[in-house]
């Protein structure tokens, strides 16, 4: 399984990378939506999963979701927002734009794993 962590905080990328790596993912990183799109397009790789922050410089996570949903080859990528944006309306917006799941920061390791289980990316029962 291939995952990409898109977050402008290096600390957050490190935490999420470690978590996905523990679950057996190979992990790519990008510091914003534009960087992620460039990386995926230049390497031609399509991750199974993208963890996407919302507020980032250059290109926000919401813009990334909107753009990436227009690219036919990337349609099978599962998009999960991992962000501190936590208003009801923001979550609705992200889902409407094509995000499959939404995790609100702060999260626990089990919170991320439970959501990945919902998406069928890890087996049920991995979290405590």
């Amino acid at each position: 399984m291939l995952g990409i962590v898109i977050d402008d905080s290096r600390a957050m990328r490190k935490i999420l990378r470690g978590l996905l790596a523990d679950l057996g993912f190979e992990v790519l990183e990008a510091g914003n939506g534009r960087e992620a799109l460039d990386l995926l397009q230049s390497t031609g790789r399509v991750p199974d999963l993208a963890l996407v922050d919302w507020n980032m410089p250059v290109m926000t996570g919401l813009e990334f979701v909107i753009d990436v949903r227009k690219i036919a080859e990337m349609r099978q990528m599962t998009l999960m927002m991992v962000t501190t944006e936590s208003e009801h309306g923001q979550i609705v917006r992200a889902l409407a734009a094509g995000a499959h799941e939404y995790v609100i920061k702060p999260f626990t390791r089990d919170g991320i794993i439970d959501k990945l289980a919902l998406l069928g990316l890890v087996p049920v029962g991995v979290s405590s």
Partner: protein, 280 residues
Amino acid sequence: MEMTPALFGFVADLVYREAGMVLRPGKEYLVESRLKPVAKATGHDTVGSLANALRTATAALRTQVVEALTINETSWFRDREPFSALTDTILPDVLAASTRPVRIWSAACSSGQEPYSIAITLEKALPAGRGYQIMGSDLSEEMLRRSRAGRFNQLEVNRGLPATDLVTYFQRAGAEWEAIPRIRQNLSFQRINLCATLPPMPKFDVVFLRNVLIYFEPETKRAVLDRVRQVLNPGGWLLLGAAESTVGIDSVFERVPVGRTAIYRAPARDRQMVKEVTQC
């Protein structure tokens, strides 16, 4: 009294035997912080003295200690399979059997994730116009207060509640999320001790009794299952935790395999009824 390695070992042993949870050395802080309220409530000055008293304690106190040490943030739709069994197997049967509102009891509902998960499942699965009632029960007044409020914090809603369900069935309430009134009106909560005679209540179509029996001795398990059967409609359904079964404890429930798990069913008519029918 100090919490010695020997006392820690005793507590760890107890938790492993009763709940299958492994407490490795290094988790002393967890034992201290979780058991401090139990020690206080049971008149022990220190956690060490509570741990020492456990050597000769009643089953009730041991259960209390095990519970305090095993309580975790509960996941929504925990284990998933019981909820697919509810939608795929149980509801079609219950809906065909009567036109009354579907009645479900979530026993030992803790902070409420289970009864609210059941409500969300029914909201999606029931045909329009079909009502439902869910009763949640717990021994702890604090858990009942939290369940009644129907409020969950950010960390709790992250635990496996699908985002589409979050925005459909919850609204923001300050820093928390609150179940919408349409759901809450179908839920009620009551303090019930499963180890005592149950209060009078209308019968249920389904009882969720998950991860409760593991805490009880065999005779108590039998008595609890017997009481639960009395409040189930004929042919009503029982769901247990993944590591629990009625097999070897209660021969009246029928085991029905579903997917990788099993659910249990009360006899279609109780014996009294069958007798009367044949006599007529």
